[in-house]
């Protein structure tokens, strides 16, 4: 009634009159409760005058019987939300509450109501409340004193934060306010199980921290508390203290910290020196960093002491001497403390490094052993890395620049040390020095490049060699001229020097180094011609070595392509330089093959073509659509019509007709792999000329070709294009055509395998994009699982459908891939697989299990764990299947399930133990390993379930301890060890 306007509140009050004045407190309570409920519904409709009367009424009622109070508070809460509350009323309500109500003897909900009233008033009547001065603060302190409920604490902490943040007068009550909140520190609360309120310990910790670290006024009370709690036995208390201190440093200054710095430092030092917990160490270091930053920030007046300076002096005094003992435990904690302090500001950095760097340089010379030098250089490196933060160095004040000569000499000595570990640190140091602008002089730089060349090519250890190449790659963009002028020619020279067999690995290293250093456009323009020249040279000839060499060059070219993808200009240069050149070379080889079939050509071998595919693909994926269109207008006519004019060498002995029939064109047809690499990597927006004709040719080739490599490649190329093809009639037609060719091919005849390959790739293309036809094709594939001849291949095909293929139909080459396709495929097809399995004859049952295990294996783990229990009985059956692929994938499905759903798995413990133990003697090593891992994972089931099996398992696991393969023994040791501990004291 009141809500609708037909009743006024006064009428309601009058109607309730007898009830509100009843002498029985229960009846009065019910009356007030009703009134309060009404007010909560329609406080926004009240008139100013009504509010005034109601407030007076309710204030008065606060003195009433305790049974009535909860309803009174509800009413006041409703009124505290009224916009039309007259000035002065808020203060009067609060005063009445502070005076009349002993809040902490109320129930949780009623206390919460009081906090809500205060919060509401603070939100809308800030000025009036501030008029109360420190009385308000004092009133609130009394309200929250003794609060125990986490829900209320969250609200109360928020009120304290607002008191401070909005500058309410704290007056003489700072310490009381601190006491009433800090008594909860450190938070020791764990939510009850099944807590419906969802308050986490972390919520309380953060909320309290925000209070404690909200004002420097608390510093004198808080800092001693934090110092005390840092020494706590509880790690959580330590961490909380450290994090709170770090938060305080953001608002404190010298004044607050001064008195406590010696104790803070000694606590931090004690923790870092003693703890082996990385968490505690990391927090201590973060806190020290914050302290140093805080002291660095403070403005110095002329008459005060520079606290930063004296603080850093004490750190140096306590840590410095440990740096001279590179074999002792405290060397690293000391170095980390110094680095944490130094990293806070440029001033701190100079103060610390001017002292420490000369010491480290001296220590390096004093300690002759490689392992000691490595530790010292690693520490030096840590300080050099900090310098990177400050960017460029200024000549006059940089302590580092004055140490250029000794630093370089130490780093160079590490690079020529026989210890690989020391070399590796030296290389990292070199990378850092190079990134400091202006640190390395031109003559230093030449020496750097010489060292890198030497390590990259001559160092026996591959780690050092690789690290040197990486370093060259990261320094090259900073000094492109030095690297293209000094390193590239040296590499080219080494590559051409024809030394015999032994230099084979040198050649490899040269190729890798050329690729690694190609991280700047100007260098790419130097290295790509060298690599292509090399390719021309090694492709002549048919020996296995030639093929291997071509593959190596292709790998280097691929790496260069990846490195210049992000740079539009470099990418186009690369595409134009490399793609036509590769095509021309391959064409040349294919035509020579057509005329002289006996000269086997390295370039035409499957592994070589397969190595060229990623090069062309990487050179294409990042092209802009305009440039890609330009390129596609050359390459498609090349394959469809033999248009060779755009190729660099374009005089060929015969014409290029890869889609024509004829025995002698076999070699030309293999080059469809290169077409696939290009055309399937184009951005989706690029139109492909004569696409329909191209698709028909590819389809025909995939069905009719006898060479499996060519047929598969054609099928993949077809699928890659179909996946990106715009939906519509044209696509439907070409798909219909494909189905028409596939179905008879699958039914019978000599090319059933080719037809299956085509089916698999087209299905994949359509499954990825959720095309409606994919269901029909998948059903076809499911049918084939029952086929005696094609069944096993169809089963393996499920792996192809689910896995990411490396060359086509993945996101990187702009394929249309829906993110949830695997889950969708699972939901649609697993029931059919299960059904098929039950209906199938004994000869082909394994095919269904294999298909199923491929699908499960590619499913994301969390999905797997939720879905697996329904398939459990089937999986247990699959463990008895003799196919080792099925065994392996079933074991790898079961292992996470054992860890994450131990309750469900406990029901089958008998079967699991028996099967796992029997598979530990499988002839296949991978199965033995997986079975032992499962036997190990079994130990996460409840101990009582396992104990009856303990003796049997331990006995059975003795056998794989003597397995002939080390990797199996390792798993057996781990599994058996865990089983021994089951139910033993001390586990």
């Amino acid at each position: 009634g009141v809500k609708g306007g037909s009743w006024t509140v006064l009428q309601l009050v009058e109607a309730l009159g007898s009830c509100l004045e009843n002498t029985d407190p229960r009846t009065r309570g019910r009356g007030i409760q009703l009134l309060s409920q009404v007010l909560l519904q329609c406080y926004s409709l009240l008139q100013e005058k009504e509010v005034l009367h109601l407030v007076l009424f309710y204030e008065n009622r606060l003195q009433d019987h305790h049974l009535v109070i909860p309803s009174v508070l509800q009413g006041l809460r409703a009124l505290s939300m009224c916009d039309v509350l007259s000035p002065g009323l808020a203060v009067s309500v609060l005063k009445a509450i502070f005076q009349e109500v002993h809040v902490q003897s109320l129930l949780q909900l009623d206390r919460h109501t009081v906090y809500s009233i205060i919060t509401n008033f603070m939100g809308t009547r800030e000025e009036e409340l501030k008029g109360l001065g420190a009385d308000f603060t004092f009133g609130f302190i009394q309200v929250m004193d003794g609060e125990k409920d986490p829900r209320n604490l969250l609200v109360a902490f928020q009120i304290v934060r607002d008191l401070i943040a909005k500058n309410y007068t704290l007056g003489p009550f700072v310490e009381e306010l601190f006491e009433v909140t800090s008594c909860y520190f450190p938070i020791d609360f764990s939510p009850p199980p099944n807590d419906p309120h969802g308050i986490q310990r972390e919520d309380l910790i953060l909320s309290l921290r925000a209070v404690l670290a909200s004002t420097p006024q608390f510093a004198e009370f808080l800092l001693p508390l934090l110092i005390e709690k840092m020494d706590s036995d509880l790690q959580s208390a330590k961490l909380d203290s450290l994090q709170t201190l770090t938060a305080c440093c953001a608002i404190y200054g010298q004044k607050e910290l001064q008195e406590f710095l010696p104790s803070l430092w000694s606590s931090l030092r004690r923790e870092v020196f003693q703890t082996a917990s990385e968490k505690v160490e990391a927090e201590c270091l973060a806190t020290l960093h914050a302290l140093s930053a805080c002291l660095s920030r403070s403005v110095l007046s002329s008459d005060t002491e520079d606290l930063l300076d004296s603080f850093l002096s004490s750190i140096l005094q306590d840590c410095r001497h440990h740096l001279c003992e590179p074999d002792m435990k405290l060397v690293w904690p000391s170095a980390k403390l110094l680095q944490a302090a130094a990293g806070a500001s440029l001033r701190a950095y100079h103060r610390v490094t001017s002292n420490v760097l000369p010491l480290l340089l001296e220590q390096y010379t004093k300690h002759p052993q490689s392992s000691q030098r490595r530790t010292i250089l690693e520490m030096l490196l840590g300080f050099l890395e900090l310098q990177q933060k400050w960017g460029h160095m200024e000549e006059d004040e940089s302590s580092l620049l004055s140490l250029r000569a000794p630093v370089c000499s130490v780093v160079f000595s590490a690079l020529s040390d026989p210890s690989v570990q020391l070399q590796l640190v030296g290389i990292r140091a070199l990378t850092v020095l190079g990134s400091l602008q202006g640190f390395l002089s031109p003559s230093n730089l030449e020496l750097v490049v010489d060292h890198l060349i030497h390590l990259a090519l001559r160092e026996e250890d591959s780690q050092s060699s690789e690290a040197a190449m990486e370093a060259a790659g990261s320094l090259a963009p900073i000094y492109p001229d030095v690297f293209s002028g000094r390193m590239v020619p040296r590499l080219e020279e080494e590559l051409q020097s024809e030394r015999e067999e032994e230099s084979c690995s040198l050649q490899q290293r040269c190729l890798q180094a050329l690729a690694a250093v190609s991280t700047h456009t100007s260098i790419v323009r130097e290295t790509v011609p060298v690599l292509l020249q090399r390719l021309r040279k090694v492709q002549k000839g048919s020996e296995a070595r030639n093929a291997r060499d071509v593959v190596s060059v292709c790998q280097s070219l691929h790496r260069v392509a990846l490195q210049c993808q992000q740079d539009a200009e470099g990418c186009w240069y690369y595409h134009q330089a490399v793609v036509p050149c590769l095509l021309a070379m391959a064409l040349q080889a294919a035509m020579q093959e057509s005329t002289h079939p006996l000269l086997g050509k390295a370039l035409l071998e499957e592994e070589v073509l397969a190595a060229m595919v990623p090069v062309i693909s990487a050179a294409t994926t990042h092209l802009s659509p305009e440039l890609a269109a330009q390129s596609v207008s050359h390459i498609v006519p090349l394959f469809l019509d033999g248009e060779v004019s755009f190729l660099p060498q374009n005089s060929f002995p015969c014409s290029f007709q890869p889609f024509e029939d004829g025995e002698c064109l076999e070699a030309q047809r293999r080059l469809v792999a290169l077409l696939m690499a290009f055309v399937c990597s184009l951005p989706r927006s690029v139109a492909i000329p004569q696409q329909d004709r191209l698709l028909r040719e590819l389809l025909a080739l995939s069905c009719s070709c006898n060479c499996p490599f060519t047929a598969t490649t054609a099928a993949k190329c077809f699928a890659g294009l179909v996946n990106k093809h715009q939906a519509g009639q044209q696509l439907d037609e070409i798909l219909q055509l494909a189905v028409n060719r596939m179905e008879p091919g699958l039914a019978e005849g000599p090319r059933r395998t080719q037809a299956l390959t085509l089916l698999l790739w087209v299905t994949k293309a359509l499954v990825l994009r959720y095309h409606p036809l994919s269901t029909r094709l998948t059903d076809k594939l499911l049918d084939l699982l029952g086929d005696m001849e094609l069944g096993p291949a169809a089963a393996d095909g499920f792996s192809l459908l689910m896995a990411e293929s490396p060359d086509v139909l993945h996101k990187g080459c702009h394929a249309d891939v829906r993110i949830m396709f695997r889950q969708r495929f699972f939901t649609d097809n697993v029931p059919k697989l299960v059904q098929g399995f039950h209906a199938a004859g004994p000869d082909v049952k394994a095919n269904y299990l294999k298909g199923l295990s491929h699908v499960l294996n590619h499913l994301p783990k969390p999905v797997l764990v939720t879905e697996l229990p329904t398939l459990l009985s089937l999986l247990l059956e699959a463990l008895s299947c003799s196919d080792c692929v099925v065994q392996l994938s079933t074991l790898s499905c079961l292992q996470p399930l054992l860890l994450e759903a131990p309750q469900i798995m406990s029901l089958h413990v008998d079967t699991l133990v028996t099967k796992f133990l029997s598979l530990t003697s499988s002839p296949t090593m991978a199965v033995r390993i997986a079975a032992l891992r499962c036997a190990h994972a079994l130990t996460s089931l409840p101990t009582t379930v396992l104990l009856p099996y303990k003796a049997r398992v331990i006995r059975a696991l003795a056998k794989p301890l003597d397995d002939k393969k080390r990797l199996v023994r390792k798993e057996a040791v781990a599994a058996r060890g865990e089983w021994f501990l089951l139910g033993s004291p001390g586990r």
Partner: protein
């Protein structure tokens, strides 16, 4: 943990680098070729022990130094002969009066008993000249019955098992 509060036995001990995970070779991945049990394999098993309960200066259970970092077990002091089925492990207590020497030896021994094929004959002893009561400890470790009796003691078994629990 043990030792907290009390003065540390050695707050700044010498430490040694971990040798890192053993890299898997192509040969090891080959299903057919057998791999013999070698020194490194036994070393890896021995250093897997969780030394929290053995070395008193380490008082944080989360990231203890390993027996390798403390140089208690070194690969050069592990000798295996797969063909003759013998394993000998020498261990070096952190200080000559280390009160935990027997327990360290016992833990290594139990770990090896549980991890090696039965055909092996085990010999676990202190590196000569590195402990005050070297002979007494060695004698105890070599005596099968005394080892068995020690493991009947549930308190001792508890400590040994704690050392044998996975480290992480």
């Amino acid at each position: 943990g043990p030792g907290s509060g009390a003065p540390l036995e050695n707050a700044n001990p010498l430490i040694y680098r971990r040798s890192g995970e053993r890299p898997v070779t192509a040969r090891e991945e080959d299903d057919e070729l057998p791999d013999s049990i070698d020194d490194r394999e036994i070393f890896d098993i021995s250093v897997f022990l969780n030394p929290v309960h053995l070395i008193r200066s380490i008082n944080d259970p989360e990231h203890p130094l390993t027996l390798e970092e403390l140089n208690v077990v070194e690969q050069v002091r592990v000798k295996v002969n797969d063909a003759e089925s013998t394993v000998a492990v020498e261990f070096t207590p952190t200080i000559p009066h280390c009160s935990m020497a027997t327990l360290i030896g016992l833990s290594i021994k139990v770990k090896l008993i549980r991890s090696l094929p039965e055909r092996f004959k085990l010999d676990v002893h202190i590196t000569p000249g590195t402990h005050a009561s070297e002979h007494a400890v060695n004698k105890q470790l070599a005596d099968k019955e005394r080892v068995a009796a020690a493991l009947e003691n549930s308190h001792l078994l508890e400590v040994v098992n704690q050392c044998l629990s996975a480290r992480s």
